[in-house]
Symmetry: D2
Subunit: 472 residues, 4 copies
């Protein structure tokens, strides 16, 4: 036995999906492929594209990264002027190819492909009802429910059937739907997940984040409004269901961690919002220290903001290995903090004898933070002051983010002081919820902060009871 295989820990919160679609371009699948590639951070488990050429809908899905799943031959097979794609992250139990998206089917409404980012809170109930009526499910994903509702709807037109279907769905959904060459984009009335519309010449483009537009040189037109269902065909989006009035519930974690710093999400740039949060963090939890060190790469913008506000210099005290694969073979005689060490290396010359402010975006289980603090101290840091650029995460997400169960969230059971002691930091400060929201342009009430506040805006009966129990 040469050692044990270490699957790199995914201890944090993970987004479940990225969506991209193109209508009206001869290279539709190729553009969607590039869009997905720009959205790869939203899901690394599977990737898929369905394309339509006016006659036939062809799809290819596989476990793996976009760049590995698709090669030239496969893209060439996905010919046509319309395409819809998806990248997916999922929990272990369900990470099978059958759950990969877009979900595709032949129905009496025609050939259908659908990409979904989000989670329905009434999925189990809908699914049970459909099965009782004889529906056959291929997957365990929420997203297949949409297909069956559409196939069974008695509504006279596809548009009506789509509105009827989405009216039945409760929870979070940002969708791109391709049906017989017509492209629809839709978002749930709370607007949990982002979804933007753009144009590339005459073609329409839909994506989860604007970074997908940047790569393919599409122009941002506007967000799909919360609750809005639009068909994309002519010069203007044709509205099938109008946007819902607020207050909305945009996921604040997109700004804290998920979205790429170069994206505009919910109307503002993510990286700059993170920098402002880092500045606010420095005001709320200043530290006497010599250097500011970020946990790369997600902690960098906040660390720069902290450094600027505090005047403490930002240094490269942790270096990230950019060639990290999926699994590593650990030697029998175990290395301390192996999983973290394979990704991050503290730089002794930089931190030795220094008081370090360590900035990260969030703490989930606490194990990774603990390892990083230990590593910095082993590399000679005299003090480590941990600063977290969001409030303590105390609750799971039911709206499309793959989170650990509540009891695995360290902040759900431990006080800040207990967490500080556990991770071994000399001090620990979390950004306040009010502070965090004050750094964003949209009004505070338009964000969902349920993972920090347990204030879940939409819940199925069953979930609600669980949450109530936790609050008590």
């Amino acid at each position: 036995m040469a050692g044990s295989v270490v699957r790199l820990a995914r201890g944090g919160f993970h987004d479940e999906c990225g969506v991209c679609a193109v209508l009206g371009h001869p290279d539709a699948a190729n553009l969607v492929y590039l869009g997905l590639y720009a959205l790869q951070h939203r899901g690394q488990e599977s990737a898929g594209i369905a394309a339509f050429d006016g006659r036939e809908l062809r799809a290819y899905k596989e476990m793996g990264h976009v760049a590995d799943v698709f090669d030239r031959e496969r893209l060439e097979q996905l010919s046509g002027w319309a395409a819809v794609g998806h990248v997916r992250y999922s929990t272990a139990g369900d990470s099978t190819l059958v759950n990969a998206q877009p979900v595709v089917a032949k129905t009496h409404r025609g050939q259908l492909a659908l990409s979904h980012n989000g989670n329905l809170v009434n999925a189990i109930r809908l699914r049970h009802d459909l099965e009782q009526q004889g529906a056959i499910f291929q997957s365990t994903s929420d997203s297949e429910v949409f297909l069956h509702l559409l196939a069974r709807s008695k509504a006279p037109t596809l548009e009506a059937a789509l509105v009827e279907t989405l009216d039945a769905a409760v929870g979070a959904y940002s969708l791109a739907v391709l049906c017989d060459g017509r492209l629809f984009a839709a978002r749930d009335p709370h607007g949990f997940r982002p979804l933007v519309l753009g144009r590339l010449g005459e073609a329409w483009v839909v994506a989860s984040e604007t970074c997908a537009f940047d790569l393919i040189e599409a122009r941002l037109v506007r967000q799909v409004g919360p609750g809005e269902i639009v068909e994309l065909s002519g010069e203007e989006p044709r509205v099938l269901r109008p946007a819902a009035p607020g207050p909305h519930a945009h996921c604040v974690f997109e700004h804290v961690y998920f979205a790429r710093p170069d994206s505009e999400v919910f109307g503002e740039n993510v990286g700059m919002a993170r920098e402002r949060m880092g500045g606010q963090l420095a005001r709320e939890h200043p530290a006497r220290a010599d250097v500011v060190v970020a946990v790369p790469d997600s902690g960098v913008p906040a660390a720069l903001g902290f450094s600027r506000e505090s005047g403490i210099p930002f240094v490269l005290g942790l270096v990230r290995n950019h060639y990290v694969g999926r699994t590593f073979i650990e030697p029998r005689q175990s290395i301390r903090h192996f999983g973290v060490k394979i990704k991050l290396n503290p730089v002794r010359s930089v931190v030795e004898g220094k008081r370090v402010v360590l900035v990260d975006d969030s703490i989930v289980r606490g194990t990774t933070s603990r390892k990083i603090v230990m590593m910095l101290k082993a590399a000679g840091a005299s003090e480590v002051h941990l600063r977290i650029c969001s409030p303590p995460t105390v609750g799971p997400c039911f709206y499309g983010i793959d989170t650990p169960e509540r009891r695995e969230l360290i902040a759900s059971a431990k006080s800040v002081e207990e967490i500080r002691a556990y991770v071994g930091a000399d001090s620990l400060g979390y950004l306040s919820e009010a502070g965090m929201l004050s750094c964003l342009t949209s009004p505070s009430e338009s964000f969902c902060t349920a993972c920090f506040s347990l204030d879940y805006r939409v819940l199925d009966q069953e979930h609600a009871e669980v949450i109530e129990k936790h609050k008590r």
Copy 2:
């Protein structure tokens, strides 16, 4: 046709090899695998490990990254307490498996495995002589020459044969040699490439850079001296050939670009040297600007140094996609600056209307710099002042770095002003050679700066003539 495949341009200088070896540890191959993984930046084309268990030498080599080449099964087959490994980068023509290392052979001296970083300047001559004597070569790599010299040496002992062999080799070599369970480390008298010795408990470790030690928790003992040949077995390295007196010729490009910022190379930390160079660059070529933007990731330390010295804030104006694969399928209707865009995205909100100082480590052909400048301007930057943290690169490397031919180096034919005009920057400043060397701890004369100065310390007759012609 869905588009053309874009193999991501590797327009710059590329290191040719990383070396790692372990003696005296039951998990030798597993540790070498991790060491190579930390050295992956030194060569991404092939990876290989040979291991010895006291009876048999087993080797596995394949094209690809370390994490893809080796899985648990393969590492388990490489059982034994001694192992030597290699990662390789090479030019297109020779990138075949047969050139992958370690080179391995059965000779009358026993079973031999050898990993080499560097290039011999007299390789063609040595090879020709050996072939005339009946030697059969399997590869086109320099490194096989060592094997044949060792196999043919009439010297009475392995040690003597090794000294005789290395005395015949002229040029750059940092070597780890495993022969029947004995491990040797050696470096050419000029010390072109780095090589360090470390210990992990009772075991000996050899590696190109200290970052390999950090990951496996080995302790740095010292560098292998230029010209030194040592056998590693007891408590102290046994010196077969002593270190050569200076002046040496350490590759300054290791500090400029190649080595990882967390490594100690030629006795000092790389990242901190880069930061000092960035500061010196700010002194030599100040700029009136609003923000400092790095070309990630290699330009980041220099940009931080520039920012600190100049007081101009460092911002994340270019975001790097961390999921870049090897090739990408470009749509038929080409995207401007596709190759760069797939890796880097300018952040409009950050640079719009700003005067930007753009910091990079070097300019090779100029094409990438030009694309980045264009992208920043398209994203709204009002001015772009390009600052390069090394002198103009005017000559190829004969000592182990894969460089374009001289005529492809933009600085070999164009003046600084011409380069500025070509890349479209508003101003351009290169760090001076003296300024660069002043930021390093070792004396200036101990570095090879041939790619900047054409001052080649060691040349075969043939190379020398070519260079002379260029100088005129």
Copy 3:
């Protein structure tokens, strides 16, 4: 260009499926795997197994041969005491993984896996009705229709739903159905395709042919009767629908070509039936000749029968290459009769100067026969008398065999003399339908001979019209 790829022509009739299932054995999937391996001749395009362990149904399907699709790891994942498997051959248009079997689904009746050999004549109509009701189809195969009918049936019990479902299906079906750990075997009322029941200790086994039982050492109990639906659980099969009264319509082509010579099919041994047919062929179409040569391997039993009856010695005049892969790269300068030559080589020493009786089971398009006759003459045969051990094939099969279209069947348009001239034989004799049936134990009226006689016993309206047109 090194040449063109020759996909080995599959010019003849091809069976579409083999079915195997096991209930009540701890190694169920492993036994099914071996059973499928023995049934590999019934379908080489895809293979699949679904297994149930009392809690979960797991399935694995892939394009390719049984031995390539399954390895130890995959079989181990298919744990459980019940399993159902399938091998499939299909026409080019539909040869996609999505059509591979067993078809599997989660329904409100539980987890279902179904393997089907045969074709429904009312599949398109059933499918259309189901789609109108909102059913979502994943594949283009008939077999998925069964799943939807089962899922939608309002019948109170699974048994009743199964009977209702099969009552709605018209055409050919031999089925193994696994539902929540209960195993059912069923056959259409005409008994087109074979299906046998066996026992291995306490376990029940179902298979298309008895050769599957031989390999796993199961004991043949009896055939599933035409029209019968049985549940296998206790000591005796529990009959849900009794066998239908005759006359039945057993596919005579199973005896002519499809089934393995070591199988018992429709109650008698296949190889011996073929030998008797060969004898009958010698009586109907004697030949003045020196040697009898078989087209290996399917023509061998008939050739032996012919030789025995005629007294003309059987010789190995055509040698088959047993290492034939799926495709071959033909050189640019084409070889005559390449596709056949890669499989068969005439032996000059054996046939030179000889009058040869060449025995084959059937002629479909005539192209292969022509090539073989040519090859034998080129190898020196002075005369070639072609004897075919079945009547001229004039019609397609609608009951589960993949046949060319009618116009591609040489005998549908040409007289025997025209065929003889086309293939270049000195004489040509086909076995008569009456002669063929006289060699079988069951009464003549119990066989379907539609491909020879155009006497289709079961047809959907649409098919019937096509056939009528042909007859005129």
Copy 4:
């Protein structure tokens, strides 16, 4: 655990190589590929082709069957008008890619590729001497010795070096050598292994057996004579070393088992020789029986001969599965005679109650024969009379056949009666050596029968001593 993997037993004698080469055809590699495919029975472990286009020699070798190793892309890369290929079988210990052929090297004589069928008896000695002189061996195969001898020869011309090299080699070799576009064919003075010359238009072809010529439509010119070395270029082979006078030592096992029945080997057809041997066997060991059954496929010609001579009808009592893969997963509860059963199935209807003459080509370890006899009895055979179409095999082969060690050969330790008892047959008869040789056209003294007679014509000192000990 789903069961254990059964690697199909290769209990018998196995040929070690097939050789094929083409000179002077634009599709050289493609033709060699087809030739190798026809020679696949001579070695299934690895396949390789080297091709030369006037400038460069390119080679591709891989473990596996010819049809799997080469696809169109690979053949296209092997462009040129000259090519040499090889299929290899080897014992487990050495079955690594490094031993695959053709062996290829760059030497001062130019680029060399060599394919070898046979074994040298002085290989170890030659190898040791070469290693002492500094030669580096890549493989453990005999064939690499030729390369080093050629590379080191001081002879002034390539021809002279080739003669010098082959004069130094003792044992069995049939060779095709390609050196800088010149093709040589050579055979050892005893002519152990076959080698034939042919023409395809203007091109020259070399192959181990004539069946390779049949497929590519080349015309047999003549055998390469024992001891002959020829260069193929003009209209006639240019003889570098003339054929050696007899008596020669042609391997009689080529006729008994190895060669394909459609090949001409040592000047006569293999299948017909086997049939004659079967007739002779019937005369030497008649049996009172009802049917003759062959062990397919190698026993078929002899069984036909036995049947014809004895008048006992030949029947298909054992059916072979033509879809046998390399390994099979056996269920935990083992099946009797699994390894044999997966390949062969006895037909109960054919053998039940019958006295069976079972004809096979040879018995090596006896385990397979025992299983087949058992299976036939279990299927109802009342008596099984085993007839072997060669003498008892008592010694290993040193001339190119992979044989078990002497102590594993059942006939080296047991009498015929003991073997009969072990395999469970009712009677056992072996063909006599004289009888076997009487069926062949060439004089008896021109065959090597060492594996039957221990009369080794060529031995190195070391081998000789081992054999002497055995004889005593």
